[in-house]
Amino acid sequence: MSFASRDQYQAVHEMLSNGQIDAAWTCGYPFVRFQSQLQLLAVPLYKGQPLYQAYLIRPLGGEVSVRGWSDMSGKVFAYSDPLSNSGWLVAHGEFAAAGIAQGNLKRSFFAYGHRNVADAVASRLAFAGSIDGYVWETMRLQGMAGAMQTEVIWKSRLHGFPPLVAAAGTEPAKLDALRRSLIGMPNDEAGRALLKSLNLDGFIAGQPGIFDSIRHLTRSVPGSGVAA
């Protein structure tokens, strides 16, 4: 088994569709968006549930004028990835709900990774950023500067945890073997150690319905790529 890493979900899904990889750890938003081309392999369990939250963060001790989405007008904002639920879709939904168009932001940019969002906000490159709550908590658990120098000012509702997916045409036997391995990780020492390092509790097979909240969100956000 070999692993490959890319800093954008788009690249990951291109590798998956090209058959360069058998499975990928992606986000709930691209799973919903490209669901017809994918099949669910497993869903991680975080704090005992296959769910997580999106966070709005700002620099620790930063400008108190940024208290929520509605304060971001005229500010610089950091997204994670154009295909990220917590790093783009949720933010767009909240900006829309707050009545702030993208043009109202002074500037916005993608940091290509939740960790980079934390670093961008911590360094004051952006006034605030939208980030995967699980990633931020895990960074903080590990004492990483990006998380230690930022603070959470808003948390989203629970969404389906970023799943592990495979291409739709993947051989069932291979898929089942991989799923069993993932689900059985808590049963052996190496598996438990790996889960601990990932700050996860385990994996479940999961059902697409877990991502209904994201699916719902895509329908309300213009440009999400999912038909309403």
């Binding site: 610089v76 950091a78 002074k106 500037r107 940019f109 993608f110 940091a111 290509y112 980079n116 961008a120 360094s123 004051r124 490159l125 952006a126």
Partner: protein
């Protein structure tokens, strides 16, 4: 203080001090050179960084990729002098002169207008003014560099902006001092023992010469010569040669001293012999006269008795004089009596008669005389014969013996040639020499000195000369007790 130390310490210390001073001087000069070149080096680095950033950020700026420009700036700024301490920062500005991203977003904020604005107390040029690289030198020594970023079709996409604070251009004293300190440490570590070794090596011949000089007079000169260091060093060679010469001269002097001592001993023996002969000869003439008197007038009982007493006292005087020369002999000497004075006059009579001298005497003895008779007879006879000899023909001599409880005086005055004190001293020196003819006055001075008395010319005497001998009126054991 250094001069008080020995050469063995001075030399290594001097070497180390020289190295330390050299290191400090080199450091001072290097600091000056470094201060002059540091600014040029930093500016060159900033120029290269600006060119690199402009080239690398151009496609990212075109793609509106703030994060990757930020990452590029962070990575590039790390190469700028002073970036690690927050004294240098860089930014990419958009085409309107606003911050696109910077390595220090807190200072150069994203999307904040910079060109045409005041930064660090100085107004930056406007967007349209930056058509080529511009360096802004601030009054405090800091600099700012602006360089336009152009696309391949020469469209203005943005600007590279670099700030370097003034302290970055200052000489890095800590870095400059470190080699000097290392040099000083190495000097202390290597040169001190080396200098100690060299110092010992250099000073060993000097110490050998010093030791030889210390031993001069205590060790055989031949052995001393053997201990002198034989060196090729010209200075030490001169010192050794000088010491060798000194030893040679000392050898010559020692031989001369030994010869002189031997001669002096011989002369002393001669003087003693002459003195003894003189002291024996003086009374001898009187005694011979007495024997003639005895043979002519021996029929008279009185004359025979008086002559025999005179002979006895005269022979006793000779015996006492001879015994004084023999340390192991202790001749018993009685106290002086008036008869001794008479004997002396009698013993001198032949000379008095021969030289046609009129002799007058005076005796004033107020207290018992306790001085030894032999030496006083010797003194009186010497002085009297000397006076008779110096009085001229015909002449007059007056001898006077006085005594009180404390002192005894004997003086002889004559109307002959006057003798001054200086002439007297010269005569005494001459008489103490090798001339055996005139020991009388010298013997008188020696006896006076020996018995705590005096023998001088009476400087108040009128015409002629008056010699005065005096000594404490006490016996020999009283004299020792008094001393």
């Amino acid at each position: 203080m250094l001069s008080r130390l020995s050469y063995r310490v001075q030399i290594p210390l001097g070497l180390s001090l020289a190295v330390v001073l050299a290191a400090l001087l080199v450091t001072a000069v290097a600091a000056q050179i470094s201060a002059r070149t540091a600014r040029a080096d930093t500016l060159a680095t900033v120029d290269r960084a600006a060119q690199l950033l402009s080239a690398q950020s151009m496609p990212l700026l075109a793609a509106d990729d703030t994060w990757r420009v930020f990452a590029l700036l962070c990575n590039t700024a790390a190469f700028l002098p002073g970036a690690a301490t927050g004294q240098a920062r860089t930014a990419v500005l958009d085409s309107e002169g606003r911050g696109f991203a910077s390595s220090a977003p807190q200072l150069l904020r994203t999307a904040q207008a910079l060109l045409g604005q005041t930064a660090s107390g100085q107004t930056l040029p406007t967007v349209t003014a930056v058509t080529q690289p511009i360096r802004i030198d601030r009054p405090d020594g800091a600099i700012a560099l602006l360089e336009p970023i152009r696309s391949e079709d020469d469209q203005a996409l943005g600007f590279t902006y670099i700030e370097v604070d003034a302290p970055v251009f200052a000489a890095d004293w800590a870095t400059l001092t470190q080699p000097a300190l290392v040099g000083v440490g190495l000097a202390a570590f290597l040169l001190l023992p080396a200098g100690l070794w060299i110092g010992r090596r250099m000073t060993a011949p000097v110490l050998s010469v010093a030791h030889v000089i210390e031993c001069i007079g205590r060790i055989d000169p031949t052995e001393l010569r053997r201990k002198l260091p034989h060196t090729q060093d010209p200075e030490l060679g001169r010192i050794s040669a000088a010491v060798d010469q000194l030893i040679s001269e000392l050898q010559v002097r020692q031989r001369a001293e030994r010869r002189a001592l031997s001669a002096e001993r011989m002369a002393a023996v001669g003087r003693i012999t002459a003195a003894v002969a003189h002291e024996i000869n003086n009374p001898l003439a009187g005694l011979l006269t007495a024997t003639q008197t005895l043979s002519v007038h021996g029929g008279s009982e009185e004359t025979r008795t008086r002559t025999l007493d005179l002979l006895k006292r005269g022979l006793n005087q000779i015996q006492t004089s001879v015994a004084a020369l023999l340390p192991q002999a202790r001749a018993e000497d009685r106290a002086l009596e008036i008869d001794d004075f008479t004997d002396v006059l009698t013993l001198a009579h032949p000379d008095v008669a021969q030289r046609n001298v009129q002799l007058t005497t005076q005796v004033e003895v107020e207290s018992a005389m306790r001085v030894p008779s032999a030496v006083l007879r010797q003194v009186m006879l010497n002085m009297l014969l000397n006076g008779v000899s110096a009085a001229g023909e015909p002449g007059a001599v007056h001898a006077e013996l006085r005594a009180d409880a404390d002192r005894l005086w004997f003086s002889v005055a004559h109307a002959g040639k006057a003798l001054t004190q200086d002439a007297m001293e010269a005569k005494l020196v001459a008489e103490s020499g090798d001339d055996p003819r005139g020991f009388g006055l010298w013997v008188c001075r020696e006896i006076a000195t020996q018995y705590g008395g005096g023998f001088d010319v009476d400087s108040h005497h009128g015409q002629g000369t008056r010699l005065v001998f005096w000594m404490p009126n006490r016996e020999a054991h009283e004299e020792l007790a008094a001393d």
